[in-house]
Structures are given as C-alpha cells and as structure tokens.
C-alpha cells in the first residue's frame, strides 16, 4: 500500500533464517536444559515471530501508527501473561485446604 518494494533477496534471507531457527528449536529439544527448556524454546520462537512481523508483514516499513498498533497488541498480550503469573506465582503463598496437585492422582513437579 505504502509502495515500499522489498528486494526478493531480503525475503529469501529471512526465509532461510526461519528455517535455521526451526532446526535450532528441534536441536535444542534434544538437549536437557532443565529449567531453561521452556525459556530457550520461547526465545527462539520470539525471534522467528519478530522476523515474520517485521519483514513478511512489512511492519518495518510501515508508518508509525501501524507500529503503534502492533506494539499495543503485544502490550495487551503481556498483560494477560503478567496477571496470570501474578496468580500462578502467589497461589502457594497462603495455605489452602486442598490443592489440585494433591487432589489429582498424578503428582507434579513443584511450580
């Protein structure tokens, strides 16, 4: 719409980067990083997502208003995560009668 033409080279390069990162995700899955398993997978996913949003979705070349809309989207997503964690991480601060992990027959690793 804004008329910016992205060279095909850029697309090819971004595509290759995404492929390499996909390989990396698969590779990392075979190494046990303990507590870092999830953060590592998420970090790679975030990089891939940024590549798609910035280049394939043209946000890098878009007007400020578009960028603001994108940032707002991530901001609200972060609210979902933050407030859910505010519950999740403080749930065991005060004693409760019975919690899900003791009620269910399956035992979980501590949160």
């Amino acid at each position: 719409m804004s008329g910016h033409v992205v060279p095909v080279k850029t697309y090819v390069f971004v595509f290759l980067a995404l492929m390499v990162l996909t390989g990396l995700t698969t590779g990392v899955a075979f190494i046990d990083l303990h507590a870092w398993n999830t953060p590592a997978a998420l970090a790679i996913a975030v990089v891939k997502m940024l590549l798609v949003v910035l280049f394939f979705m043209h946000v890098k070349y878009s007007p400020k208003l578009t960028k603001m809309v994108v940032v707002a989207g991530f901001f609200f997503l972060s609210l979902l995560v933050a407030f859910t964690l505010a519950d999740e991480l403080t749930r065991n601060w005060s004693p409760r009668a019975l919690d899900w992990s003791t009620a269910a027959s399956v035992t979980h690793s501590p949160r």
Partner: protein, 548 residues
C-alpha cells in the same frame, strides 16, 4: 412532532418513494447477497441477529417455564442444555454483534461523511463468517445441544461432557473472526475517512464508542479463539492443558476465557453507551455535558476492562493476592462508567426534554444500567462475593447490564434511526407502549432474582427449595410480559417497513451528518462530500461553531 406525517419539508426535496436509494436501487437477491454497501450489510446483520435473538429467547422461555415449579418440569440434563444454549446464542450471536454490526455498520460511514467503510468487501466477508459460525452453533443445538454453560469451564467441557462441545466451540471460534474484521474496518475508517473539518473532537460520541469497541474486538477476540482452540485440542487429542488429571491447570482456562469475556461485556455495553449520548442530546436539545470526558471515558473503559478479569475467579482457586489486585482494579472501571451516567444526567438538566419512544429507552437505560453497575461493585468486593458468587444475584446483575442496558440501548437506537434506515415512521404510540411494557416486564423478571440470589438460590439448577417459589413465579410472569414487549416492535417494524408513513430526512430535528441526507440514503450516502464546520450536538445554534 411524532404523529404528523412529514410529507414536505421546506427547503428539502419532496420525499418520494420513486427516488433511487440504497433499498430500491436493485431488488434481486443476488444484489443483496453480494452487496458491498455498508447499509445493506447492516440490514443483513439486523435480520440475522434478530433471528438469533428469538432462538435464544425461546430457550429462556423454556427455562422460566421450568422454574415455575420447584421440582422443575424438564430433566436436569435438559435444563443444563437450555441455559447453555441461551447464553451462547445471546452473548456471541446476538449481543456482541448487535449494535456494532447493525447500527454501527449503517452509521459509522454516515456519521463521518464517508461513502462506505474502508474495506467494503471485508465487511461482507464478516457477515458470511458470522453466518458460518451461527450455522455450526445451530448444528450443535440440533445435534443434541451443549451443557457446559456459555463459559465452557474445563475440565468438564474438555474431558467429561458428552454433548456437542466441539461444534459449539467451532461456531464461536469462527464468529470471532467476523468481530475482528468489523473492528478492523471501523478503526481504519474512523482514522482515514472523516469528512473535511471533522476533527476527532467534533466526532459524534457514538463514533468514539465504536472506536473503543473495535479496540476490544481486535485485542480480545484472538484470545477467546486460542482458548477454544486449546479446549478442542485437549478434548480431541488429550493434550494436558486444562485438565489436572493429565497435567493441566483448569484455572488457566478461566484466566484465558475471562481475559476476553470480561472485555466482551464492555463490547456489549460500550456501543449502547454511544447510542445513549446521541439519544440524550437529541431529545433534550442540548450539547452533551463534558464532551471530552465522555469521549475519553470510552477509551478508559476499553483499556481498564482488560485488567479486571480475575473478579470472575475470586472463589475458584485463584490466589487471594491476585484477587486483591483484581478487586481494586474492578472498582476503578466503575469510575469511567459513572462519569458517563453523571454526564448524561447533567445533559438533561435544563434541557427541553421530549419523551418519544427512543428517549423512553434511553431513560430506562440510565436507571437499569446504574443498578447493574452498582451491584457489580458488591460482586467486586472480595468478601461479599463469597456469598453472592454462583447465585441468582449474578444472573440478575448481568441481565440488568446486558438486557436492561445493552438491549434497551439497542432498541432505543433502532427506534431512533429506523426512519433513516427505512425512510419510514413507525406508530409512535405503540412504540412508547412497548417501551413501557419492556421496562415493567424486565424489572419484574430480574428484580426478584436479586432477592433470590441474596437469599441463597444457586444459578444453573433445574430445581429449588419450595420457599423460593413465589419469587420464581414472579420472575417467570415478568418474563412473559417482557416477551410480549419484544414482539410488539417486531410487528410494527415489519409493518412500518412496507406501510409506514414517509419520514423525510430528519424527523427528529436531530444534529449529525446522517440526518442531512435523504431517508433512506442513496447508495453513495451523500450527493457531495460534506464539510464540517461545527462541533457535535450543536443544538444551541451556530454561534459557538468555531471552537470544537
């Protein structure tokens, strides 16, 4: 004003059925089903959601019949399906699209002096998506129904219910995309297509409300889509996400569900608030009191509404510390809502008020919404919520907002803009009568439910102790009055569409660009692009037109 047929208005062309407008320009079915005209799409939506309203209402009738007898009339399994399908259809297929997809679709371009929305084809696509979603959900209804409650709480919905959970969830999932497309269309249109001179602070407040609603559509709806998708994955593939027996966390479902569904409550009420600002000013012939406050309170509501969802989870296992935060934030969201109520009331002060049917709905809204909102504060208080959660008090609370507020505003708006949409008047005496019947029926239905809930009658049960029968019979009696109240407008609107007296461009003498064009408007809305030189609601005259 209302009883006289306005056949000729000095200075305007003589309204004539012959004049080409968006309704008579082409009569073929194809021209309707493939239309790109926002006004026709609004009518397609109007017909669809009206059908869904009566399907949902049918289930409500059966519920209220069941609750006349303490022992119930239908099997408990059937009752569970009735309240679920009532809730799903009313929330996702009637109230969420109600004002935005009908009045919003029709009025957003008209109010800002544009020829259409920014993306007319996407607008049509959104209607087809809605129909597809509705088809899935109606299939679920026919194939035996669903019994999870409209809230789909896990692990019941993912591991235990034997009803059509998947088709229902797919239907709601699909329909969400129609909301997203509508929101997207409105935001781009409001940013890009305002007529020359129509600055942000000259916009009608209905447009501000539509903008705020669109923000919620876009930010919230994807989350409910993902949530239902995960629910489907757990149900079909047994991936442990929500069910504790396979390693999930059911409270996670509630977080994700209410992250959308609390803002969705404001999707339902914000457009109604926008309609209110138009009605109150038009029928008290005054500029709105505190324009900027009302405008920004819409945005404040849109944003704060994303921060309060945990108030639905005070007693479901959420941490008390999170509960504290959510309680405080819930009290905050009452502030912008109260600002609006006070400003509408202040607008009435010293206005020259007239009581046509739309205004009766508007006045009803102020009272009923206030009751719904104030009881919300009882529920947002941690201690009182322990007593009231899961009782009929909740049912009364949200019906005061959703039916007493949103549906009242929707009907008020429909009566207000009906002459613009169809070019014809409806019988005003019947309309006032219906507004009164609805008001009385509504209160008789839902006020006893506050008392029932406070006394401890739980919601979602097919049976109840005998001592609650009197109040339940009152509620059921009210529901039948309310049902009649909804049928009267249906009848005279259908009549008016064909036989109503011609309305002329501006039967109410109201301000706003939509009233400057013929009724019904021509396909391109305005013969020439209007140029705006005055503030909104300039009922006092043109002298102060310079500052906006």
């Amino acid at each position: 004003m209302s009883t006289t047929v306005i056949a000729e208005i000095p200075g305007h062309e003589r309204p004539s059925v012959e004049r080409v407008n968006y309704l008579n320009v082409d009569h073929s079915v194809k021209s309707w089903l493939l239309t790109h005209d926002h006004k026709r799409i609004a009518l397609l939506y109007l017909i669809s959601i009206t059908l869904m309203f009566f399907v949902g209402g049918f289930f409500a009738v059966l519920m209220r019949l069941n609750l006349i007898e303490p022992t119930g009339l239908v099997a408990p399994e059937t009752y569970n399906k009735l309240f679920t399908m009532h809730g799903v259809i009313m929330v996702f297929f009637f109230l969420v699209p109600s004002i935005p997809a009908t009045l919003g679709n029709f009025l957003v371009p008209m109010m800002i002096g544009a020829r259409d929305l920014a993306f007319p084809r996407i607008n049509l696509l959104s209607w087809y998506i809605y129909i597809l979603g509705a088809a899935f959900t109606l299939y679920a209804v026919i194939s035996g129904g669903v019994d999870t409650g409209w809230t789909f709480y896990t692990p019941y919905s993912s591991s235990f219910s034997h009803t059509s959970v998947i088709p229902t969830a797919v239907g709601v999932f699909i329909t969400g995309f129609s909301s997203i497309l509508t929101g997207l269309n409105f935001i781009v249109t409001i940013h890009k297509m305002r007529a020359p001179g129509l600055t942000w602070f000259r916009l009608p407040l209905f447009i501000w409300a539509m903008y705020a609603t669109s923000v919620i559509f876009i930010l919230g709806t994807p989350v409910i889509a993902i949530t239902l998708f995960l629910l489907g994955l757990e149900r079909l593939l047994h991936i442990g996400i929500f069910d504790p027996a396979i390693g999930g966390d059911p409270i996670l479902f509630q977080h994700m569900f209410w992250f959308y569904s609390h803002p969705a409550v404001y999707i339902m009420i914000l457009p109604g608030m926008g309609v209110m600002s138009e009605l109150i000013t038009a029928f008290s012939r005054k500029r709105i009191f505190g324009y900027t406050f009302v405008a920004f309170s819409s945005l404040a509501i849109a944003i704060i509404s994303f921060l309060v969802w945990g108030h639905h989870m005070f007693v479901t296992g959420q941490s008390v510390y999170a509960g504290l935060i959510f309680s405080v934030l819930s009290f905050l969201v009452a502030i912008p809502s109260a600002i609006k109520v006070f400003n509408w009331t202040a607008t009435l002060y010293k206005g020259s008020i007239s009581y046509e049917a739309p205004m009766l709905y508007a006045l009803g809204f102020i009272g009923l919404f206030t009751m719904g909102g104030l009881t919300g504060l009882f529920l947002a208080s941690l201690a009182t919520d322990v007593h009231l959660n899961g009782t009929y008090f909740i049912v009364a609370h949200f019906h005061y907002i959703m039916v007493g507020g949103a549906v009242m505003a929707y009907l008020g708006g429909l009566h207000f803009w009906w002459p613009k949409i169809t070019g014809r008047l409806y019988p005003d005496a019947w309309a006032r009568f219906a507004a009164l019947v609805i008001f009385v029926g509504f209160n008789l239905t839902f006020f006893p439910q506050f008392v029932l809930g406070y006394l401890g009658m739980p919601r979602r049960y097919a049976v109840y102790p005998g001592e609650f029968q009197v109040l339940n019979v009152m509620s059921s009696a009210g529901a039948s009055i309310l049902g009649v109240g909804y049928l009267i407008p249906l009848i005279y609107f259908i009549w008016s569409f064909k036989y109503g007296p011609l309305a002329g461009p501006n039967p109410w003498g109201a301000k706003g660009l939509e009233w400057t064009t013929p009724s019904p408007p021509p396909t391109e809305n305005f013969e020439e692009v209007p140029i705006v030189t005055e503030q909104a609601y300039n009922y006092a005259g043109t002298s102060e037109s310079a500052h906006g």
